[in-house]
């Protein structure tokens, strides 16, 4: 084997006094970092392939394991950092495009951390959500231009289809293929219990998820995998996937190794064949073509399903969102560049797109300026780490948010960012039966429900503190936000004042 010039990343530290050589870690690690020594009894570790997923740490019955960063200093160089040197070596070894999972780990500004929330003091008193009703139910869909009523007061407006969710938090698109069926099922079950929606992604709908279609968002992406008229009609709404925050402008590629019998059933392609989603939809080369597909879907669903267009946050997002609204979309989802993914070229993930905070604020403002904000619901995506991020997004103009990484972390994900290898020890981003069976949907859905229930409480508490008792009064309420340490330009784009103003 050729010698690799790349040092390992982590070291498995085994406390020999605690280790009872039970072999639990050996069975748990799909990267084969733990093994029995030649004596067949003593467990030893080989850290070479460790990704710091912590599966062995979590399951070791005696707490004998610990993962350490492997420190191997290079000569200091602020320009040629170890990471760039290692990536060059990797490409020199393989000639391949660098691929990784999850969202960008780079140190770009997170505007959520530079925005502070308001609270009531003395005037307009705060509300105690434990005693008083607090409304976080959200209604998505195109709203009529104006309301007309008959004499008895009944509405005579022909209402476009609306979707009611009991929390502004929904689960973002993750296809069966990128994640396991058990992971998808966990999200579906949690969505049902929470009264929110999960998104099947572009990999079709597995028959096992049929009982949850009334909580499902179904995607139509460029590969059109598993798309047929029943698929469109058995959904809460249909999402046309134009782009993804983690990899704007490029398509997707599920390698044949991950197309198992079950994945092939959902995607409706032969087992083991590559599932390639081209970069563009080949029937959409313009905003007029997008309009054509939106209305084709509406025609095929008898105008009963709202149609969402999901785009990646890029430089001209505001104008694009306006175009989508005018093309007939009922919902537009904007996915910021910190959004996660099962696999993306590293260069794209780390360099293309813009943060959701700026894209969302710009899009909301543009729609208001043009007087068409009520034509669509805006869904923000691209890394929400906690309930405060959600509250800030709603105050910046979002109707609801898509979350994916957070519920995955609730299921065991440790952000090791090697989803693309298909060896996920937590049974999430893998199709290997011995790994996926580790994920019990009954238990995992409960953990996700717990997480979102807790977030719901926190959202209500934050709203109550502001003296707001309905999420509708929070939406686009930028007076509740103040920037901290932001430039004039950033404040202008976010449409918020600086703290102290």
């Amino acid at each position: 084997m050729a010698v690799s010039y790349i040092p390992r990343r982590f070291t498995v530290v085994r406390d020999r006094e605690r280790c009872i050589n039970c072999g639990c870690c050996v069975r748990q690690c799909s990267n084969e970092c733990h093994l029995f020594a030649d004596d067949g009894k003593t467990v030893i570790s080989d850290s070479t392939a460790c990704v710091a997923c912590h599966r062995c740490v979590a399951l070791c019955p005696t707490g004998a394991l610990r993962i350490e960063k492997y420190v191997c200093d290079y000569r200091e160089n602020a320009n040629w950092t170890p990471q760039y040197q290692q990536q060059i070596c990797r490409q020199a070894e393989t000639g391949g495009v660098l691929l990784a999972g999850m969202g960008t780990p780079k140190d770009y500004p997170v505007y959520w951390d530079k925005i502070l929330l308001n609270a009531s003091q003395v005037t307009n008193p705060s509300i105690d959500p434990l005693r008083e009703p607090m409304e976080i139910r959200t209604v998505l869909g195109r709203k009529p231009e104006k309301l007309t009523v008959e004499k008895k007061g009944r509405s005579t407006v022909d209402m476009p289809p609306q979707v009611i969710i009991e929390t502004p938090v929904m689960f973002s698109a993750m296809s069966f293929g990128s994640i396991s069926l058990n992971a998808q099922k966990s999200l579906a079950m949690a969505a049902k219990e929470l009264g929110t929606l999960f998104n099947v992604g572009e990999g079709g709908l597995h028959p096992d998820l049929q009982p949850y279609t009334d909580r499902a968002i179904v995607q139509v992406a460029s590969g059109r995998f598993g798309v047929h008229s029943d698929y469109l009609n058995n959904s809460k709404y249909v999402e046309i996937k134009i782009g993804q925050g983690a990899k704007p402008g490029i398509g997707g590629h599920l390698p044949g190794e991950k197309v198992s019998v079950e994945v092939s059933n959902a995607r409706m392609i032969p087992e083991g064949s590559d599932a390639i989603s081209p970069a563009p939809h080949h029937d959409i080369y313009s905003i007029e073509d997008l309009r054509q597909l939106i209305w084709a879907i509406k025609q095929a669903t008898d105008n009963k399903k709202p149609v969402c267009v999901k785009i990646a946050a890029v430089h001209n997002t505001a104008a694009i969102v306006s175009g989508c609204a005018r093309a007939g979309a009922d919902i537009v989802a904007i996915d910021g560049f910190r959004g996660g993914t099962g696999a993306a070229p590293v260069r794209i993930r780390d360099n293309v797109g813009i943060p959701i905070e700026l894209a969302l604020a710009a899009a909301d403002q543009r729609l208001r300026d043009e007087g068409i904000r009520s034509r669509i619901s805006l869904v923000a995506a691209g890394s929400f780490r906690c309930s405060a991020d959600i509250v800030k997004a709603i105050a910046l103009g979002a109707d609801a948010c898509y979350c994916a990484s957070a519920p995955l972390i609730a299921m065991g994900c440790h952000m090791c960012a090697t989803c693309n290898t298909g060896k996920c020890n937590w049974g999430i981003a893998t199709q290997r039966p011995e790994l996926t069976k580790r994920l019990n949907p009954d238990i995992m859905s409960k953990r996700v429900v717990n997480l979102i229930t807790a977030w719901n409480h926190e959202i209500k508490e934050i709203m109550g503190g502001m003296g707001i008792n309905s999420v509708d009064s929070l939406r686009g309420n930028r007076l509740m936000l103040r920037g901290i340490g932001l430039s004039e330009k950033e404040l202008e784009i976010l449409g918020i004042k600086h703290a102290g103003e």
Partner: protein, 245 residues
């Protein structure tokens, strides 16, 4: 049988009327069609829609087993994301014909424009078939993952090529039967031309006979010229493109 007249009415109105008609009937004719979109969308098995005129974009979108007979030309994206059934076009068809189609058959009497049969795919017993009487524009069968395209090149104008540039780029499944001669220079790399097996021959004959029946063409005349089969050299054209970081 009732004949629905499309005239210059909007597509929504026409499609509503067609849908209503299909609630009680299995066959409907719509005449004087002037580019109305989405005709026959999601039409189910056992239903037949006959169209007279020029059908607009996204004809038979998500077709679910129904039969569409178009007496006239089709525009863009006919048979888009088709999941079964049959489309017979007595004329030309526009761009992106049969995009992402998974099952069913499309017969076009004349030529098709760019991006025909893009991302066609097959699944178990579902095997989509696209039969084109004339020539095809650029990017025919791009990203093709399954199914069959038959390109007959009947009555090609002198100097006109059977297909445009970038034919079968990224193709990783399925096959194309092309009637010689075909422009080798327009074929993408990693695609090879081979001779038909006896099994292929049988399959092709079935499609050509059907074409001749639909469009009243001489079968023997078509089969006089030799055919070649175009297939991808590998089913994993991008297998070595990526490396884990």
């Amino acid at each position: 049988m009732k004949r629905i007249t499309a005239g210059i009415r909007g597509y929504a109105e026409v499609n509503d009327e067609i849908r209503k008609e299909f609630l009680s009937k299995n066959k409907t004719v719509v005449t004087d069609v002037n580019g109305q979109r989405y005709l026959g969308n999601a039409l189910e098995s056992g239903k037949t829609l006959e169209i007279e005129g020029t059908a607009g974009n996204d004809l038979a979108f998500c077709l679910s087993g129904g039969r569409i007979i178009l007496h006239g030309h089709g525009q863009d994206a006919a048979g888009n994301t088709m999941g079964g059934g049959e489309i017979i076009i007595h004329g030309h068809a526009g761009d992106a014909l049969g995009y992402g189609m998974r099952d069913g058959q499309i017969y076009v009497r004349d030529s098709v424009s760019c991006r025909g049969g893009i991302h066609m795919k097959e699944f178990r017993s579902m095997k989509p078939v696209l039969v084109i009487g004339g020539s095809a524009g650029s990017f025919l069968g791009e990203y093709m993952a399954g199914g069959t395209i038959v390109l007959l090149g009947i009555n090609l104008r002198h100097g006109k090529k059977l297909f445009g540039t970038h034919c079968a780029s990224g193709m990783h499944g399925g096959k194309m039967f092309v009637r010689a001669p075909f422009p080798k220079e327009n074929l993408s790399p990693n695609i090879k031309a081979v001779n038909l097996t006896s099994q292929d021959r049988k399959e092709l004959e079935g499609y050509v006979r059907k074409y001749c029946r639909y469009f009243d063409t001489d079968y023997e005349e078509i089969m006089k010229k030799p055919f070649r089969k175009l297939i991808p050299e590998t089913s994993r054209p991008y297998a070595n493109l990526y490396t884990a970081e």
